[in-house]
């Protein structure tokens, strides 16, 4: 055990590289997304609010990135009384 650790103890750079690669892959997606979701949320809500009244607190926007397919899920709770038709 001690001989084994003598030969391997100093090779920590590959561990550092692997940890960084995984972490940064994750952080880069996050950085790209957080803005995108906020922008999408605002623009979608503006369009919906033109036609029906909605409660802005009861809106859920979710972006899921899979390997093959990414999905955008928008949940909007529509209020009971519809806007007067114009």
């Amino acid at each position: 055990m001690s001989i084994f650790s003598f030969f391997t103890r100093s090779r920590s750079a590959p561990v550092a590289r692997d940890r960084l690669q995984i972490l940064l892959a994750h952080e880069r997606t996050l950085a790209g997304q957080s803005d995108l979701v906020a922008v999408l949320r605002e623009e979608i809500l503006t369009v919906i609010a033109k036609h029906v009244s909605i409660d802005r607190d009861k809106v859920n926007v979710k972006l899921e990135c899979g390997n093959n397919v990414s999905t955008l899920e928008v949940n909007v709770e529509v209020m009971d009384q519809p806007k007067a038709a114009s």
């Binding site: 100093s10 090779r11 920590s12 750079a13 690669q21 940064l24 880069r28």
Partner: protein, 273 residues
């Protein structure tokens, strides 16, 4: 065509100020007109590294706020005629700078200088954002160490989104300057090597500055390393990096691991020889 260059890193203590001073001096030594601007308002240090700490009268904040004219605040280097310094304020905070104010100062400097080098403060807040805002080219200073690489990645993301050039869809040159590199430790697998860092950050390499006593000595005496010990390994790295910034194509040689008896006995000391 004058160039605005930001020297940035995200993480503190990786060598932004030292590299700003050394690259600035190296460019000035090659005959270019260079001005160094210290953006670290409240914690200025470029004046100290340049040995001009006793000559500061007015600073960047004074100029931005109109309390002093630009020529009054510029400090001309006593060793190289073509090198000037615009120090940061020590008594104010980063909110004293405005984007319009910084823009006006940079535009005025462009009339007189070939290179306007902006030494960024650490962090990703207003000071760092203003330092990179008007940049045409960026030098990302990174140590071969996990936290520095992570922060550099973050800064590269900001260079791609928060600079004026990025917003206008123009290209901003990005260069990686690897500092405090210890070839022996990288070869032993104790430290990230050049290939690892380049693979992760994926921007072109400007140079590799080995960890060196000469850099510390240069700071101690207030003289850029390229002037203080021009023949040292670190100076050569900075001088070559400056030539690459001017468009020369020079191969980058990875500092060799020294295997001689002397380096085994004296470790980093021999590596600086």
């Amino acid at each position: 065509m004058p160039k605005v260059m930001v020297v940035t890193s995200g993480k503190g203590g990786v060598g932004k100020t030292t590299s700003s001073a050394s690259l600035g001096a190296a460019l000035a030594q090659s005959g270019q007109n260079v001005v160094l601007i210290d953006f670290d308002v409240g914690l200025r240090n470029l004046d100290l590294v340049m040995g001009a700490e006793r000559r500061v009268v007015f600073d960047l904040v004074n100029v931005v706020q109109g309390d002093a004219k630009l020529p009054q605040a510029l400090i001309r280097d006593k060793r190289i005629e073509t090198l000037s310094l615009l120090p940061a304020s020590q008594t104010r905070d980063k909110d004293a700078l405005t984007e319009d104010g910084v823009k006006t100062v940079i535009e005025e400097l462009k009339e007189k200088f070939d290179w306007i080098i902006c030494d960024s403060p650490a962090g990703i807040e207003k000071g760092a954002q203003l330092a990179m805002r008007f940049a045409d080219t960026a030098v990302v200073v990174t140590n071969p160490e996990v936290s520095s690489v992570r922060d550099s990645d973050r800064i590269i993301g900001m260079l791609d989104s928060k600079t004026l050039r990025a917003e206008n869809g123009e290209t901003l040159e990005k260069h990686l300057l690897l500092t405090r590199y210890n070839a022996a430790r990288a070869a032993k697998g104790e430290m990230l090597n050049v290939k690892d860092v380049l693979e992760i950050l994926a921007i072109p390499l400007l140079g590799i500055v080995p960890e060196s006593m000469d850099v510390l000595t240069a700071s101690n005496v207030g003289c850029p390393v390229t002037l203080n010990t021009p023949d040292s390994v670190a100076s050569k790295a900075y001088l070559e990096a400056a030539r690459r910034l001017r468009g020369e194509k020079l191969d980058i040689v990875e500092p060799a691991e020294r295997k001689g008896l002397m380096s085994r006995l004296f470790g980093w000391k021999a590596a600086t020889a």
